[in-house]
């Protein structure tokens, strides 16, 4: 258990986001502490994905402050977060294992840490040698999720994480999220329906404008 992460707090204050000259949202406040989950809801175009990308550092904020306290002071919020977007970042010509190994190394898994357990966690262990080109959409998604397990980062940013997953895989994801929170991690997820989180807090976008 990484109880030291319990003191973590991810907070945004007065955040604004602009895309293509259009103000998506402004004056947005939120905060998540270690062990908590925040589900971002709202109609299409309300800025759910934009908020996640903004937290990940993949979108410049048009105003406000965003910060993480209690973690690694040297690292940016993005460097302490996992981002699971609509795209899986899987290279078809690399094998399943090679794909995961690369992201594990690149995103900062401890040197020499095996990827087997992470593949096991998403039930892809026996496909480790298979080129990723053969994977179905759901399997690619699972390979993408394995990344979150292989590298420990306190914040998980999940954009519609259950899309393309069958019910067994959804259950597995719910279990992984539960473990992550139990060890003090945080989850910010964008979703239209329930994604298997216990007692999430909700942030509704697109109501103040």
């Amino acid at each position: 258990m990484r109880t030291d992460l319990i003191d973590l707090r991810l907070a945004g204050k007065d955040l604004a986001c602009e895309r293509g000259g259009r103000l998506v949202f402004s004056g947005l406040n939120f905060s998540v502490s270690g062990g908590e989950a925040l589900v971002v809801t709202g109609r299409n175009g309300a800025g759910k994905s934009s908020l996640l990308r903004l937290i990940a550092g993949l979108l410049r904020k048009a105003g406000g402050q965003l910060g993480i306290t209690g973690g690694d002071d040297e690292a940016t919020v993005g460097e302490q977060s996992h981002y699971l977007g609509h795209l899986d970042a899987v290279k078809p010509s690399l094998s399943v294992g090679e794909n995961l190994q690369f992201w594990a190394t690149y995103l900062g898994a401890p040197r020499g840490a095996p990827i087997g357990p992470a593949l096991e966690a998403v039930d892809l262990a026996q496909l480790s040698d298979l080129p990723a080109a053969y994977l179905s959409a759901g399997q690619r998604r699972r390979l993408s999720i394995a990344r979150l397990v292989a590298v420990a980062r306190p914040v998980w940013l999940l954009d519609e994480p259950t899309s393309a997953l069958d019910s067994a895989s959804q259950d597995r994801l719910a279990e992984l999220m539960r473990k992550h929170r139990a060890s003090g991690g945080m989850i910010v997820a964008a979703a239209h329906g329930p994604i298997g989180l216990d007692e999430p807090r909700e942030l509704k976008l697109g109501v103040m404008g």
Binding site: G20, A56, L58, L59, L87, S93, F102, Y106
Partner: protein
């Protein structure tokens, strides 16, 4: 540093697997140079005179056109997002990709240069010198082209835009590259000065390219 190496090796592996672009640059270069005599005629004396220039032009176009997809594929499948979220500074990540690209695209091109030299009636010993100028000059092409590749992704446009943006920037490399090659083959000007400038251009773009490319990618965030 492990992240840098991991990215470098991944990109090289991708280039060499099926569907990768390794050797495609060398192939383009070969075809491009082989077409020259059809345009200017098979007169061997003429070919000897323009040989280094044709080789350099071919190398220039081959290494730039091959750069087109350098960031685009990573952008399209979401990898670029994750590359930005690593602890490795984006400048270094970009440099790793460029080095991998140079190793898989430009290096094969330099290796086949002596063969092409034979076809343009340039002496084998002289070809060594031309290959040397390419070895010194192509890093500049790759790292300048890197900026164009990043801009192309930021602007969501590919193809010829890259060449249009970048070709004018490569003029100094072309000038000193061909000058050094010609000095080595026909003289009478000394080989040293243009070759030194060429090396300096490569070193400068080695530093400048990743910073400009990373800045372009950050600008393109959306």
């Amino acid at each position: 540093m492990t992240a840098f190496l991991a990215l470098l090796l991944r990109d090289m592996r991708l280039a060499m697997r099926v569907g990768g672009g390794a050797l495609m640059g060398a192939l383009f270069y070969f075809i491009m140079v082989a077409m020259t005599p059809f345009a200017v005629g098979p007169d061997l004396n003429l070919l000897t005179r323009i040989g280094p220039a044709m080789l350099w032009l071919g190398a220039l176009l081959a290494s730039l056109l091959a750069l087109d997809r350098l960031f685009a594929t990573d952008h399209d499948d979401g990898s670029l997002d994750l590359l930005m979220m690593g602890a490795l500074p984006l400048e270094l990540a970009v440099a790793a990709k460029a080095i991998a690209h140079w190793l898989t695209t430009a290096l094969p091109l330099i290796v086949i240069t002596p063969v092409l030299g034979l076809m343009l009636n340039v002496e084998l010993s002289a070809m060594g010198w031309v290959a040397l100028t390419l070895l010194a000059g192509t890093p500049a092409l790759t790292f300048i082209g890197l900026i164009g590749a990043a801009l192309a992704v930021a602007l969501r446009r590919g193809g010829l835009l890259l060449a249009v943006l970048v070709l004018p920037l490569t003029i100094p490399v072309l000038i000193f590259g061909v000058a050094a090659a010609n000095a080595a083959i026909v003289g009478p000007a000394p080989f040293g000065p243009p070759f030194t400038v060429l090396c300096a251009l490569s070193l400068a773009s080695l530093v400048l390219g990743p910073f400009a490319a990373a800045a372009a990618l950050r600008q393109g965030l959306e």
